[in-house]
C-alpha cells in the first residue's frame, strides 16, 4: 500500500490527512508555514454559529499527532512533481528551522530570552511583535520553535556589528535551551517522496488591497483588512481582543466594512469570494460584543447570505445587534489629517445621492486569490483556480489523473464545503493508494 501526499495544512488538508490516516494509509502533509492550521488558525469565531474557530481546529490539529502514519513536513515547499497516478515522484524543499524538532518540545523558554524583540508577527498580521526565535501561535501543531534567520543576530548579523565582533554575535537561545535543540548550522534539504496520489489543499491568500490605491490601505493608518480586524478582535490577538485604532490606540466609535474589495470587479477578480458578506456581519457582531456603543455599518451591493443558518444570522445582526447595511460601492477613502478618521465616498443607491460618511475605522472585505501557482501538472481556470476535471461525474479530481483538489484553491468556498470536499478527496486518493479499483471507476 503506498502513500498519499497532501500539499497545504489548512482545515481541508488536515481533514483529508485524518480521513486517510483513519484507513491506515501513510500520509505526508506538507505546509510552507511552521504550523498547520492555515487561514482558519487566524480566526477568532466562525459564522454562523459564532463558536470559536480554535475549539474546532485545535482538536483536529492535535489528532494529527496521534496517528503514527501522518508525517508532517513543515516549513517546506513542493519543488517538483512527476510520474502518474499510483506512482508520483515528488521533490520537497525543506527550509531550515535552525531548531532540531526531534529534541525541541515547545517549552518556549528560548522565545522569552531571545534579545531580538521587534520582529512584526505575521500571525497577528504585523499588529504585534515577536522574537527572532518564536512559536507561530500558542496552540501551534507541531508546537516547535523556529528561528527567523533574517532577523536572528547570530544567523544574519547586522553588517556594522559583524566586522567589529570577532566571534558569533549571539547564542542566547542555544545556551538557554534545556534540550540542546538549537542548531545554527542546519541547511535546507531536499526530500524525495514516492506517493500514489496527491491532494492539493493549498487554500487561498488575501488579495492585496494596495492594488486599489484609492482605498488608501497602507497609506491611511485606520484602514484594515478583514483578517487584520479578525486578529484584533481575537482573544489570542495582539491586543487580547481590544479593538483599538492603530493611529491613537483609542476605541473606535464608528466602524465601516466595505464589501467586494477586489471581488466582482473585472479589473481585479471576476468571481465573488463567497465568504466576505458573512465574515463582515460576524465581525460587526463581535465588535458590538466588545464595544457596546460602537456603530457598525456594512457597505454592500448584494449581501450573500446563502448558506445554512446564514440568513437567520443576517436578520439577527440587523435586528438584535443593530448593524446597518447601506447599498453602494465605496470608490474612495480619504483620511482627515487631524483626527486620522476616514471619509468614505460612495453613492447611496437607495437615495441616488453621493455621500461622504466619516468613520473612525474602516475594514476592507478583501477578495481571495487561490494559491494555485504550484509545480503540479494541473490545469487552471482563467480566474486562477485549479480546474475540476468534471464537476458532476468526478467532483474532486483535477485534469491530472490521481491528483485531487479541495478547498478554496478550487473555488471560493467556506469551511463546511472545504471539509466536505476533503473527505471526498481523501477517499478517492485512498482508492489509488490501496490499489483498490472497481471496473466501473475510470481509475487506471
Amino acid at each position: 500500500m503506498s502513500s498519499v501526499l497532501i500539499i497545504g495544512g489548512g482545515v481541508a488538508g488536515i481533514q483529508a490527512a485524518l480521513d486517510l490516516a483513519e484507513q491506515g494509509i501513510e500520509v505526508y502533509l506538507v505546509d510552507k508555514a511552521p504550523s498547520v492550521g492555515g487561514k482558519m488558525a487566524y480566526l477568532d469565531k466562525t459564522f454562523p454559529t459564532l463558536d470559536c474557530a480554535l475549539c474546532i481546529l485545535a482538536p483536529k490539529m492535535a489528532a494529527l499527532l496521534r496517528y503514527p502514519n501522518i508525517k508532517l513536513i513543515m516549513n517546506s515547499e513542493v519543488q517538483d512533481v512527476s510520474g502518474r497516478a499510483g506512482n508520483f515522484k515528488v521533490k520537497i524543499l525543506k527550509k531550515p528551522t535552525y531548531v532540531d524538532w526531534s529534541k525541541c518540545n515547545g517549552c518556549a523558554v528560548c522565545t522569552e530570552k531571545c534579545p531580538v524583540k521587534d520582529v512584526p508577527n505575521e500571525y497577528n498580521m504585523g499588529l504585534s511583535n515577536r522574537r527572532a526565535i518564536y512559536i507561530m501561535f500558542p496552540q501551534a501543531v507541531p508546537k516547535r520553535a523556529i528561528i527567523d534567520a533574517e532577523h536572528c543576530m547570530r544567523l544574519n548579523p547586522p553588517p556594522k556589528a559583524k566586522e567589529k565582533a570577532k566571534g558569533p554575535l549571539c547564542g542566547v537561545c542555544q545556551r538557554v535551551c534545556p534540550t540542546k535543540a538549537i542548531d545554527y548550522e542546519q541547511k535546507p534539504e531536499i526530500i524525495e517522496l514516492n506517493v500514489a496520489s496527491l491532494i492539493i489543499a493549498t487554500g487561498m491568500e488575501l488579495y492585496d488591497p494596495r492594488n486599489m490605491p484609492e482605498l488608501g490601505y497602507g497609506k491611511h493608518q485606520n484602514v484594515y483588512t478583514n483578517l487584520e480586524f479578525e486578529r484584533l478582535v481575537s482573544a489570542t490577538g495582539p491586543t487580547n481582543g481590544e479593538i483599538v485604532r492603530k493611529s491613537d490606540g483609542k476605541h473606535p466609535k464608528k466602524i465601516a466594512w466595505i464589501q467586494c474589495v477586489g471581488s466582482r470587479d473585472i479589473r481585479f477578480n471576476h468571481y465573488c469570494s463567497a465568504y466576505c458578506c458573512m465574515a463582515a456581519t460576524k465581525q460587526a457582531i463581535l465588535a458590538k460584543e466588545h464595544l457596546s456603543d460602537v456603530q457598525c455599518t456594512i457597505y454592500y451591493m448584494d449581501i450573500r447570505a446563502f448558506g445554512k443558518g446564514f440568513n437567520e444570522f443576517l436578520e439577527r445582526a440587523k435586528k438584535e445587534f443593530g448593524i446597518n447595511y447601506i447599498r453602494g460601492k465605496v470608490v474612495r477613502i480619504d483620511e482627515i489629517p487631524e483626527t486620522k478618521n476616514l471619509k468614505i465616498i460612495y453613492e447611496d443607491t437607495a437615495e441616488s445621492y453621493l455621500k461622504m460618511d466619516e468613520y473612525d475605522m474602516v475594514v476592507l472585505s478583501v477578495a481571495i486569490t487561490p494559491n494555485s501557482k504550484l509545480p503540479v501538472p494541473v490545469e487552471l481556470t482563467e480566474d486562477g483556480f485549479i480546474k475540476m476535471k468534471d464537476p458532476y461525474l468526478d467532483p474532486v479530481s483535477t485534469s491530472a489523473e490521481g491528483i485531487f483538489v479541495v478547498g478554496a484553491v478550487a473555488g471560493a468556498k467556506d469551511i463546511p464545503d472545504s471539509v466536505t470536499e476533503a473527505s471526498a478527496a481523501a477517499a478517492r486518493a485512498a482508492l489509488i493508494a490501496k490499489r483498490f479499483s472497481c471496473p466501473t471507476e475510470v481509475v487506471k
Binding site: 477568532d44 469565531k45 454559529t49 463558536d51 470559536c52 480554535l54 475549539c55 485545535a58 500558542p138 496552540q139 482573544a235 489570542t236 487580547n240 481582543g241
Partner: protein
C-alpha cells in the same frame, strides 16, 4: 480553622466541562493570565454529568463555594443538550440551597466557551471577592456517614 487569624481564603470547587470550560481554563494558562489560587478544578465530560449530590458533598466537606461550568447554549454543547440538562437541574438546586442554610451566592452556574479565558478569570475573581464578603461556610448540619 487554622488560618482564622490570617485573612480568610475561601476554597472553591469547580466542575468544568471538558470541551468548553476546561479548555478555557487551559487557555487562561497558555495566555499566562493570573487569578487567585482558591479554585480546585474537577474535569467532567459534560456539565450534564455533574450530580447535585456531588455539589452538596463538596459543601459538606467544607467548600466555601462551588462553580459548575459548561458550554454556551444554544449550540456549543459537544453532546447537543448536556448543558440544558445542567441548566434545568441547577436552577432547581439553587432554590434548595437557601433551605439548607447555604447562601445562594456560594453556588454559580456559568457558560464559558473554550476561547473565553478572560471570562473564566473574571468569574473566579468575582467568586473569590464575594466569598470573602460572605466569610467561611458555617455548617449547621452534621454529616451522616
Amino acid at each position: 480553622m487554622a488560618e482564622q487569624k490570617s485573612e480568610f481564603e475561601p476554597k472553591i470547587v469547580v466542575y468544568a466541562c471538558n470541551w468548553c470550560t476546561y479548555a478555557a481554563t487551559d487557555l487562561a494558562g497558555t495566555s499566562r493570565m493570573s487569578y487567585p489560587p482558591n479554585v480546585r478544578i474537577i474535569r467532567v465530560m459534560c456539565s450534564g454529568r455533574v450530580d447535585p449530590q456531588l455539589v452538596l458533598q463538596a459543601f459538606a466537606d467544607g467548600a466555601d463555594g462551588v462553580i459548575v461550568a459548561g458550554c454556551h447554549p444554544p449550540a456549543d454543547c459537544h453532546y447537543i443538550e448536556g448543558n440544558y440538562k445542567a441548566y434545568r437541574r441547577f436552577e432547581l438546586f439553587r432554590k434548595l440551597l437557601g433551605a439548607m442554610g447555604i447562601e445562594q451566592e456560594r453556588f454559580r452556574l456559568e457558560w464559558i466557551s473554550a476561547a473565553e479565558a478572560s471570562r473564566w478569570v473574571q468569574v473566579v475573581n468575582e467568586m473569590v471577592a464575594q466569598l470573602k464578603k460572605l466569610g467561611p461556610l458555617k455548617p449547621n448540619m452534621e454529616v451522616r456517614e
